[in-house]
Amino acid sequence: MRPNINVKNRVAVVGAGLTLFRRRLMETPQELSWIAARQALDQAGLDFNDIDCVVSGSAPDAFDGVHMKGEYYVEGVANGKPHVRVFVGGGTGVFVPVAAWWHVASGLCRKVLVLAEEKMSSASRPHPQAVFKHIWDPLVEKPLNPNLIWIFAMEMHRYMYRCGVRKEDIALVSVKNKRNALDHPSAQAAAKITVDDVLNSEMLVYPVNRLDVSPVSDGAGAMVMVSEEWANRLTDNPIWVEGVGFNLDSTNWTNRDLGYPVYLKRAAEMAYRLAGIENPMKEIDVAEPYDPFDYKELHHMEGLGLCPPCKAAEVTKEGLTQRDGDLPTSPSGGLLGVGNPIAAAGIMKAIEIFWQLRGEAGARQVKKDVVTGLAQAWGDLMQVGTVVVMRR
């Protein structure tokens, strides 16, 4: 039952790799890319020579301080092959497999290396957050000297106000994800913490405290995506990319209600239509909603239609989103627990769904049997949603 009868070529994931996520890694962007790619190829049973296309993603050039950095970090991986870097801000990590999907589904490529790299530590002074100084409208916003966290705090407060959600309800997400990350071998910010720890951590921008936010990180992740023919040749256990979705709202974030992410709803609808999903609440077995901030996981669950609007906090409080719950979310530990090397963090979420559906998530494996999973990311000026739906 695939309602989009126009799409004829199926696309599968057959391998994935992920480096450690850390505040600072010695490796260059090129080395991180190569290492993650090598791991993914190993799992797929392929070599660099077998790959016919590379699709990559990375967040702002300003982190590395390298203009057109896609060509730079991909040096050891592309080797004169077709390569394109796609970019949708924080949504990039999940968008890279989306773009890789059409490389294969178009019939043009058969074995695609899907790469996301981020080295935030290079932007060392005064703090990597300074890179975000230039994301603003240079004329109406930048003169106010904003920090990126300001506007996320504005969205968080709007969400709290609109839905009657309290800070302590939101903090439960941070507690859950950081604990889940204790089982993730790449994790940078795994911890056993309490709601009080979150509420008492450094106040950055009310209502955002230090422990509501994911850390800055270095890291890289990669996947191998192939055509149906190659999937069947390479593995008995392919994971199919059945739905992809993306959507970008207006640049003018001060002109729309931040309480509900309409753009994400549209992105999810696109992915569900392709995947033939009519009732995501019933059909999605495990999800990795994007969680650079704890409130975002809730906000995104609602946008994805995994629970009714304003109900995500309640669902979380009831424990349904724990690994042994009905709707496990961020079983990886998410960005809050594993770390947030921006594009690499997004692909980490897609990779987690791949591993969960393969039954290869080890100590992180969710309790229920999972057939269909979803990974999602978000970015730009709170305006982009990117979604992939995968099936076993």
């Binding site: 290492i35 957050q129 003018n252």
Partner: protein
């Protein structure tokens, strides 16, 4: 699977490592465009100007020469009241480079009156002259505010010093 390890560096070991420093020089002189030019001229006069869409009726502040929802060129300029409602607000303890501010400030988004629906509205991010406590109690949400204009204006978003509360919700 082969085990490819990466190497975490502590701040100490990084300080002692061989490294290369580079400070990008990126300087731009950007054309504000037709819409912002008029908008900033308005601010200098103490007026908030917007462009009105003939199709959906939305007044665009900050203004544009096109309506992104109807994809029509906008040519009708209207003055918008310098009053509105607090859509959202936060207390900022840090600024652009994560430096801590000596005194926290309140900033937020002001929904200006005159057009829009539940989802879309003319609006500006700006400072709100109020106490942090009013934000933490959420009392500020929905409060009616009015622009406090700078006495010396030069055609910049900072010609508005802040928005002040006129009445609570």
């Amino acid at each position: 699977m082969t085990d490819f390890k990466v190497t975490p560096l502590s701040e100490d070991s990084f300080r002692n490592a061989i490294r290369e420093s580079t400070s990008p020089r990126a300087v731009y002189d950007m054309a504000p465009g037709e819409a912002y030019t008029k908008f900033f001229e308005g601010l200098r006069e103490g007026k908030i100007l917007g462009t009105k869409c003939p199709s959906c009726g939305l007044v665009h502040v900050p203004p544009k020469v096109y309506c992104q929802y109807c994809y029509l060129p906008l040519t009708q300029w209207v003055e918008v009241k310098d009053e509105g409602f607090v859509e959202t607000a936060v207390v900022v303890y840090i600024a652009a480079e994560r430096e801590r501010l000596e005194k926290p400030e309140v900033v937020g988004v002001i929904r200006l009156e005159g057009s829009g629906d539940r989802y879309r509205y003319p609006g500006l991010m700006h400072r709100i002259c109020t106490e942090p406590e009013e934000v933490k109690s959420s009392r500020i949400m929905g409060a009616k505010v009015k622009a406090r204009w700078a006495t010396e204006r030069k055609g910049s978003i900072n010609d508005i010093e802040c928005f002040e509360v006129v009445s609570w919700k």
